[in-house]
Subunit: 465 residues, 2 copies
């Protein structure tokens, strides 16, 4: 054995064992220095990222109990969906291209009244998690019903989420008084407190469905447990005008007046904003969840994201619910985010590729107050990591990783997903979920929805017809 050989053996003996070593990938870290590694590696141990660096350096230092070869793959942080209603996917494509009020009052609300129950929320949550994992989303911020059931499914299937059940004026959807509803939310918060991946937050639905006392009670509860406060705000012109008429202030200023604007608040949409509204959001450090495809599809407009970013507002990007999107693919969503802003601002330089990639990684994490745990590939953070297969004709050539992610890649290119170091999608196979069973269940439910629709309106043609 020559000296070099000895040295190598000696060195190997000193290598640190880690749970997993991902090697030879194009690493897009999203760290503060925007480091990109052409032949990079990530060491993962005990659910956390232990090191990020050049493959040669990491291979000499770490020995992976499992080695994932990421040659011709992109390695990046798991994506963060800033605002959704995951179980609404059971209504995907049921009512599209309709006027807003008809869509909401003639289709979505009756559908929800009839079909939102514990079983269907569980089914929708499983389907949504399958879709999210398959397209690289590891964390989502949700607002829906039966969140105790959702939490159970999320616990079992492995992603990370913030769950909120929207408080509204009486009579609430669950028939409970505000006091009862608050107590129920508090119990669910307590049940899941300390869970490594699940945070139960608090939501007030929107200023047109929740009075000031509902918002204020929600804020007290969110502050008590240090959790997120989630609402819809300034989504439609109708809402903006209504709140202005009712309270004499814009929706943002109304929430300021009742003491709700604060760093733990995330507002979904924020489309119709005055200059003062924007300044106020910046001053109070409120997070904004931008949902470009839903906003375009319902013709509500597009939020002034470039201005908000200039003011330092924390921005995330979400899909909103599938009933108004109609998918949970964040690759698709950031492409729309970039393109819509360029169109509306008549400026091809706004919302560049890096900006939108930030919004679904480290920026989204900051918006949700989770940037100490996730959002970038850095030692010490949780190992929420996705591998994207670049052996696709639409991924060649690759001159700029942010451009590739934003303008060329698709959710389906994601082939491996890890959350807290656990592999949930392994070379395109979901490890915690049987998809075929799921599809048959969804198919049976969609048959029931179609029958209900036929019964409901014999005279009214189904949109399918």
């Amino acid at each position: 054995m020559n000296k070099a050989g000895f040295s190598q053996t000696h060195h190997e003996g000193l290598r640190i064992e880690v749970d997993a070593l991902i090697t030879h990938g194009l690493v897009v870290t999203m760290d503060d220095s925007s480091r990109i590694l052409e032949d990079g590696a990530v060491a993962v141990n005990n659910g956390k990222i232990m090191a990020v660096g050049d493959t040669a350096a990491l291979v000499s230092k770490y020995q992976g109990r499992k080695v994932l070869d990421a040659h011709r793959k992109l390695i990046m942080p798991g994506l963060i969906n800033a605002h959704t209603h995951a179980p609404m996917n059971i209504f995907r494509g049921f009512a599209d291209d309709l006027p807003l009020n008809e869509w909401l009052y003639d289709y979505i609300f009756p559908l929800e009244t009839e079909f939102v129950n514990r079983d269907n929320v569980k089914l929708g949550t499983r389907l949504a998690i399958a879709e999210m994992l398959r397209s690289g989303t590891t964390t989502f911020n949700d607002m829906y019903y039966h969140i105790d059931e959702m939490a159970g499914i999320i616990d079992e299937l492995g992603p990370r989420a913030i769950l909120t059940d929207a408080l509204v004026d009486l009579p609430a959807h669950n028939g409970k008084s505000l006091q009862e509803a608050l107590q129920q939310v508090e119990e669910i918060i307590q049940t899941w407190k300390g869970h490594p991946r699940i945070q139960v937050g608090v939501a007030a639905h929107a200023p047109y469905t929740a009075k000031p006392k509902v918002y204020q009670a929600a804020k007290v509860l969110a502050d008590k447990y240090g959790v997120l406060l989630h609402t819809h705000l300034s989504e439609t012109r109708w809402e903006f005008d209504l709140i202005l008429e009712k309270y004499g202030f814009t929706p943002v200023q109304h929430l300021e007046n009742i003491g709700v604007l604060a760093p733990n608040l995330v507002i979904a949409h924020g489309i119709h904003l005055t200059r003062e509204d924007m300044d106020l959001l910046a001053r109070r450090d409120v997070g904004v969840a931008h949902n470009p495809q839903c906003n375009m599809k319902l013709a509500n407009g597009t939020a002034p994201i470039p201005e908000l970013l200039r003011l330092g507002v924390r921005i995330g990007i979400g899909t909103d619910g599938v009933a108004s999107n109609n998918d949970l693919d964040l690759f698709d969503e950031i492409r729309s985010a970039a393109l819509a802003q360029k169109l509306i601002n008549s400026d091809p330089t706004v919302m560049d590729a890096k900006t939108v990639v930030e919004a679904i990684t480290i920026g989204g994490a900051r918006m949700l107050g989770l940037d100490n745990k996730i959002g970038s590939l850095e030692a010490g953070k949780q190992a929420d990591i996705i591998l994207v297969d670049l052996k696709q004709p639409h991924a060649w050539p690759n001159f700029n990783a942010y451009s590739l992610i934003t303008y060329s890649l698709r959710g389906s290119d994601v082939d491996t997903v890890m959350v807290d170091g656990k592999i949930l999608l392994d070379n395109r196979r979901l490890t915690t979920l049987n998809e075929n069973d799921l599809y048959e269940e969804v198919h049976a439910l969609s048959d029931r929805i179609c029958s209900w629709q036929q019964q409901r309106t014999k005279s009214k043609p189904h949109p399918k017809a």
Copy 2:
């Protein structure tokens, strides 16, 4: 043997043998009556569609030498890309989010001067065909250089295309006089005349690069051979103002004045149009190729497609070149087409799902003058058919096929593609192309492009940096 058994055997004996029988799929025909079959089948023989109907009916009548089970798959016509520059994909992601003039003059034109040669056009065409087939595109209308080489590749690899080499003012890119350039185009037209899948058409680049005599000569040639005339028109505000100043007329009226507007003309873009322009396009039955993502990305605006459709203008949807898109996925493109129009028109009902699906199937075929051959699944048409795998979480549930195609499906969901009855993508495997070899070639070219860029501008940072 009982009577029923005898009858069955007897019946089987009478079944007509066909090359392929596709069964048990959700068939979206795009025929005049918009027929959708829940458990449908398509019989294919000699490169043509022999029958479209319920699976039970077709199985009893036809026997397929090959049977493709399309259970849980969608069967639809191959998609039609109305306007692209296929080999520009070798510049994918090289220069994004830049001001229009900087993008064009500092990046794209120098890149083209340096790297557009016969070999790279062939390489780019192969890569583009791989990407198009993988995302369900079977026909594309192209304008680029070295189209004789492109035709050779297309002949070999199997898709359908209309190819044009843009005529411009002297000095042309190939150094030839107008007469020489026309002669060259005519020779290529003659070479490929009668090819079952390739039409060589004629193009004048744009009114700011081609004088009236170029347009007129192009039209004479196109008319002589009954082929398509292709141009860029009313793409930017700059062009609109320039032509107005130079000729005293809008770009559309300028082409009317010089006698070019006719049913065999396809204009790409058509964004900046007056009411009179729109009427003129309708009256002269000119086709319009809409390119929503490119138009948004370069912040050129969005064409008034709903108005043009109301006037009866034939509309197709294209991706434009990958240097300004950055992919060739028509699923993605129609989603943007629908969403952008809803946003711009503040109306969620415009550009509904069916309208945009039509634009990449039968509508696109009409625009290209190919609707007697392709664009719908109907007996007698060429067998350009795609199968889309619905066993994906984002494809469930499915209440409306057009919504599903427009708002939920992605190019990657396409698993089988047939052109003229020949299978070019077989369960996600390309049958006429080795992708891995292709990627290594593209990788080597992209290294040369990066080196050139580093040499060219030591002081100027590469967009990647």
